[in-house]
Symmetry: C2
Subunit: 284 residues, 2 copies
DNA sequence: TGAAGGAGCTTGTCCATACAGGTGACCGCA
DNA sequence: TGCGGTCACCTGTATGGACAAGCTCCTTCA
């Protein structure tokens, strides 16, 4: 849409520099804190963010078609490859659908507040406009049982840290976490305050530890005595159980946890697609 | 925009044809049933499949590093971009992790038998080496309630088809489906046999209808009288509920369903990553 | 012996180009 | 009027080149 600046031939060979210059010069982005805050995100991510915003704000309602790759490329002063990279993100989130030959279609306008991103409880709560709370009920050193050891990739009987934590949403108890931390991270966890709102964020800030990967197993169980007590439900009432194991970017397991959600307050959402995959997967 | 086909005699300008010719010459793929069985998968998919197989077969155990992109490219006679497209698929499946500067690491060797792919119950069962069964308990025309209408994107009161279906795994009842089909697909569904093993596959074969997208809401509920009866559990025992809506590739809703799973027999698995996204998402 | 530095490899980002294959709308003919 | 074919448009696939950023390991110096 915004006609690119007059054809400057020598600059055409440095599109990256050109557009960078543009954001600084023509676009009064300089007024924004782009330079001061962080190293400036990659182009494809910026484009994806712009599209995502346009969709969630209703500029493209459900069923509408997105501009073609060529148009988007021109509008953002990027190449088609970069635009494809951007829309691939929306594809993976299930916001848009794509078929060869046809324009892309908007499937949903609600941002994926779900598993697509690996979200901590606090982050997830904030995204929904709610306030999360936390309270450590007990914390004790112990040894890993066989199952836990397997998940944490340590020998059975290895020292670990067991933590029982109650999570609240707007003051209501909704989640009981039974977490087992690997020993190498235990001191950092013990140093946290009992009512720490977001363990994930604290560990990232204090230890530089990022939870990069996670595996979640979901099923339903009946509330036990302890569950019922803390979550304020009757014993035997249904709970949503999520057993998860989290690892660092290098694949080193950090924690494994048995999380039990009180139904009604929390619903998990997964969006799905035959084309979920980055750049295709349609075959067979 | 598309430059009219100029008279090009230079064979170097047709890398696709070149490599095809290579596979044809060196590997006499023509001798294989490639021509008879489907149109030959894209290169990047073939490479992804090879890597996936190597991982699940244990050639790369958990924690091992994958060959570099350059090595893979050379090994498969493809360009780096194509290899990147292939590994992006594994990234999205959570099989491998990736960090800039470091070799890719294997995170898991179990194929994602889960939500990453949109699988029908029968397909999913087969993948696990089990046999799926189905039985229609009731099927009746009716009108859409407000909630159903919203999910199917039809006006409230529009004609729909309600189907109650019991699914079995190796003969045991594990899933009770309450499905609402949009009217335009209702005749095809009614034409199906009552004990149809896979509705998804039949509809694809007979109608050319593909279930391309899905949205799933997961929570836990107590078994009602009917649930308890059909699933052979006590009333009030916990069930895993998945409310899902499925649409075609164009985004047209096909069905919406309330599925209740008997716990113990089925566990949902979701694998997760900060880098789940196609080609990045690490920022912020 | 231990720590700082650098070289080389590897992944991330981006561009330009070309062709294949599917979609959908327009147009002409019966 | 209705049907079928043509064609512009759009996405999928693939290559190749260039540079940036980050990780590892090895060397070198104190």
């Amino acid at each position: 849409m915004p006609a690119p600046p007059p054809p400057d031939d020598d600059a055409r060979r440095h599109p990256r520099s050109r557009s960078r210059a543009r954001t600084g010069a023509g676009g009064d982005r300089s007024g924004r804190s782009t330079a001061g805050r962080g190293p400036e995100p990659p182009r494809h991510e910026a484009i994806a963010a712009a599209l995502r915003r346009a969709i969630t704000e209703g500029r493209y309602p459900v069923g509408a078609t997105l501009p073609s790759e060529a148009e988007l490329a021109a509008a953002h002063g990027a190449s088609r490859g970069t635009v494809r990279q951007a829309v691939a993100a929306l594809l993976a989130e299930g916001l848009v659908g794509s078929r060869q030959g046809a324009r892309r279609v908007v499937l949903s306008t609600t941002p994926s507040q779900s598993f697509t991103e690996l979200r901590s409880f606090a982050q997830w709560a904030r995204a929904g406009g709610r306030t999360a709370g936390g309270l450590v009920l007990s914390s004790s050193r112990g040894t890993a049982r066989a199952e836990e050891a397997g998940l944490l990739q340590v020998p059975p009987g290895a020292p670990v840290l067991h933590v029982l934590r109650l999570r609240t949403l707007d003051g209501d108890p909704v989640l009981l976490e039974r977490t087992v931390y690997a020993e190498w991270i235990a001191p950092a966890v013990e140093a946290l305050p009992d009512d720490c709102e977001s363990v994930t964020e604290r560990l990232r800030r204090d230890e530089g530890l990022v939870f990069a990967h996670g595996e979640h197993h979901i099923d339903a169980v009946a509330a036990g005595t302890a569950d019922a007590d803390h979550l304020r439900v009757r014993r035997g009432s249904p709970l949503l159980r999520v057993r998860r194991t989290t690892t660092t970017a290098e694949g080193r397991p950090v924690e494994t946890s048995d999380d039990r959600y009180r139904p009604g307050s929390v619903v998990f959402t997964v969006r799905n697609s035959t084309q979920t995959n980055p750049l295709t997967r349609t075959h067979a």
